[in-house]
């Protein structure tokens, strides 16, 4: 096991710069997810840690060793690929033993290692099968088994669940997390699915267009997004974002399109009349007689809650979640107000979070 440090790393493919200076510190035994939309550079960063891509500028170290010029096989990392990359002509056991075979580990010793990993993952009955004869979830497990057998310093996962169906994905998510709790190996996990990131990680790195937007524990990202990108990316359904201006005539308030007006809890550190974006999570909206009028467009009951998609007078979409089973009709106008605490305010131009004045 080892810590990983990524120091001001740049990556260019020809003239195109993909990563513009990324720095992340990963502690020994930590489970870190790199999350972001497609093309944000998260997979490239992972492949650079693995040694499959050269580092254009900056440095990456594993443990106390800078690995920029260390060959992939010397880095002692194991990677689980999105398409699993199982060797189709080898049985499950041979796939898992391959790295040990290359190292020249005696057969008996390698069998013990394979058996141990197979037991952890419930693969014992499948050891003599070929990858083609396995289901998606089983292949996924073999790919993980191949990584475990090597007992590496760092596990790298590159969107490992995106080829699985929804139900299996949830199940494998829990299995991977449990596996990490058991093995305590430093893990870097790339995903575009923020729910995977939220549920599995000790620490999330949100990436966007080749830069790091925010690093922090899942709930911190959820509760205090530092900018509009993180606010809109983390959380499902996404945070409601209303454009408007800040007004401070006596009591601080938010003025949005279509006459929307909301009182703000504490006077934020911002001037009168400045453009702001107000963010509020769907679960923090509640029905109130003095709230913003919203026309109900779609009602989505999920069983545990009811999700309402509505439109404000200013024409902005707004999503609200209720644990109560309200029965609204489409076209009906309801009034929503915001619970005072969890309001997020962002700068209208920079998108940065505005902290409330103390």
């Amino acid at each position: 096991m080892a810590s990983v440090a990524i120091g001001d790393v740049y990556k260019s493919f020809g003239a195109t710069e993909i990563l513009h200076g990324v720095s992340v510190g990963i502690d020994d035994g930590e489970f870190v997810t790199l999350v972001g939309p497609s093309g944000c550079g998260k997979s490239t960063l992972l492949r650079m840690i693995a040694g499959l891509e050269k580092i254009s500028r900056g440095h990456i170290s594993i443990g106390s060793r800078i690995v920029n010029d260390v060959a992939p096989k010397e880095r002692d990392v194991a990677m689980v690929f999105q398409n699993y990359a199982l060797y189709p002509h080898m049985t499950v056991a041979e796939n898992m033993a391959f790295s040990l075979m290359l190292k020249g580990v005696p057969k008996a010793e390698s069998d013990v290692g394979v058996k141990r990993a197979a037991e952890i993952l419930g693969l014992v009955p499948l050891l003599s099968r070929y990858p083609r004869q396995l289901s998606g979830g089983q292949r996924q497990r073999v790919a993980m088994g191949r990584a475990i057998v090597r007992n590496p310093q760092v596990f790298l996962f590159d969107e490992p669940l995106s080829n699985l169906d929804a139900k299996l994905r949830v199940q494998m998510r829990a299995e991977i997390k449990e596996l990490h709790q058991r093995l305590k190996t430093t893990t870097i996990y790339v995903t575009h699915d923020q729910i995977e990131a939220m549920t599995m990680a000790d620490k999330i790195v949100v990436m966007h267009d080749g830069i790091v937007e925010q690093i922090g524990p899942p709930l911190e990202l959820y509760d205090r997004p530092t900018n509009l990108f993180v606010a809109s990316f983390i959380g499902s359904p996404a945070m409601n974002l209303l454009k408007g201006t800040f007004a401070n005539d006596g009591a601080p308030s938010f003025r949005g399109a279509g006459g929307v007006s909301l009182p703000l809890p504490k006077p934020p550190s911002i001037g009168n009349g400045e453009a702001v974006v107000l963010g509020v999570r769907p679960e923090h909206l509640r029905l109130a007689d003095d709230g913003i009028p919203v026309t109900v467009a779609v009602i989505e009951p999920t069983g545990s809650e009811v999700q309402i998609i509505g439109r404000t007078a200013g024409g902005e979409d707004i999503v609200a979640n209720f644990r109560e089973r309200h029965s609204f009709a489409p076209g009906e106008t309801i009034r929503l107000s915001v619970e005072p605490g969890p309001i997020h305010l962002f700068h209208g131009e920079t998108g940065r979070r505005i902290e409330a004045a103390r």
């Binding site: 693995a50 096989k73 999105q82 398409n83 189709p88 790295s99 070929y130 083609r132």
Partner: protein, 312 residues
């Protein structure tokens, strides 16, 4: 008034009934191909086999003489020499084509500048008509004007011209070399296509697993390429075994029959010598060898165990 219309419905025209029947339609589509095969493959093959049992000569219909032609060939040294030549030619040329073709395919699969240009150039020997390239080789191997002899002499490596096609050993090596030159592109391009079906992530996974370049080739490339190798080499062996044009242009089987293949001997005896029956018998004698090659490929081509089982 309704009666006639019912009758029409009950008896659609024969044409529309045929168009509606899957079997009739299938037969209709198959017929042209089947006719071509019957007329141009099955009939000549059958005729050849029949001629092999007769003493037909050009201009004189023969009579059935049983296996007399084969008995004669059995005791004919030239025939056995041609069998030996054919096997030597096929085996050495195929091995060389495989090794060099695979090597070329591996090089072309790397990231090279002007990759598509090189890939196109490699195909040239295969595209040029055999007779043309054979004539070019005829010049290269010429006893007086050989550019090879000239170049080697200029470099001071030899002091007299090489007798490429006049000496039995040299002649055999020369025709094999020409055949290899012509056959490499086919092997290289098909194997290249096979190489490109191997997912890059397997190489990356194996690299992380600690494989060296040789181990990548030995444990990833080669096993995943075997199905393609089996197909390619089957075709290559069949083409080589039945080669005619190259030999006929370069040596016509000489010197002293040293490069006579079964195909050229069959032509020489059957057409040039007029002994149609005997020529046909030699051609028919190739069939067991070709069948053996096809059987070999049949077992070689069978899906390996790792290729079986559920889809993706």
């Amino acid at each position: 008034m309704a009666v006639p219309s019912v009758a029409v419905q009950r008896r659609p025209s024969i044409l529309s009934r045929l168009a509606g029947s899957r079997n009739a339609l299938g037969l209709g589509f198959m017929l042209p191909a089947a006719a071509l095969l019957l007329v141009f493959l099955t009939y000549p093959l059958g005729l050849g086999v029949w001629l092999g049992f007769t003493d037909t000569r050009i201009g004189r219909p023969g009579i059935y003489i049983g296996i007399e032609n084969y008995e004669y060939l059995w005791s004919d040294g030239v025939f056995w020499l041609s069998v030996f030549n054919t096997l030597l030619y096929t085996v050495s040329a195929s091995i060389l084509k495989f090794v060099l073709g695979l090597w070329l395919a591996l090089i072309l699969n790397e990231k090279l500048p002007f990759k598509s240009f090189f890939r196109a150039v490699v195909l040239l020997p295969w595209v040029v008509p055999t007779v043309l390239s054979a004539i070019a080789f005829w010049w290269i191997y010429d006893s007086q004007f050989s550019i090879l002899s000239w170049a080697l002499q200029q470099m001071g490596l030899i002091d007299h011209r090489i007798n490429f096609l006049g000496d039995p050993t040299n002649a055999r090596a020369s025709v094999i070399a020409a055949n290899v030159w012509r056959g490499i592109p086919f092997v290289a391009i098909t194997l290249l296509a096979g190489l490109q079906t191997i997912p890059q992530s397997l190489y990356e996974a194996a690299t992380l697993d600690g494989a060296s370049r040789w181990q990548l080739f030995r444990h990833v490339t080669l096993p995943l390429l075997t199905p393609i190798i089996a197909i390619t080499m089957t075709f290559s062996v069949l083409f080589t075994f039945t080669d005619f044009q190259l030999i006929y242009v370069l040596t016509r089987g000489g010197p002293v029959n040293a490069t006579h293949l079964m195909a050229t001997l069959s032509f020489q005896r059957g057409i040039a010598g007029g002994q149609l029956g005997e020529g046909a018998a030699i051609a028919v004698a190739m069939i067991p060898f070709l069948l053996a090659a096809i059987l070999f490929s049949y077992f070689g081509l069978q899906r390996r165990r790792w290729q079986q089982g559920g889809g993706d």
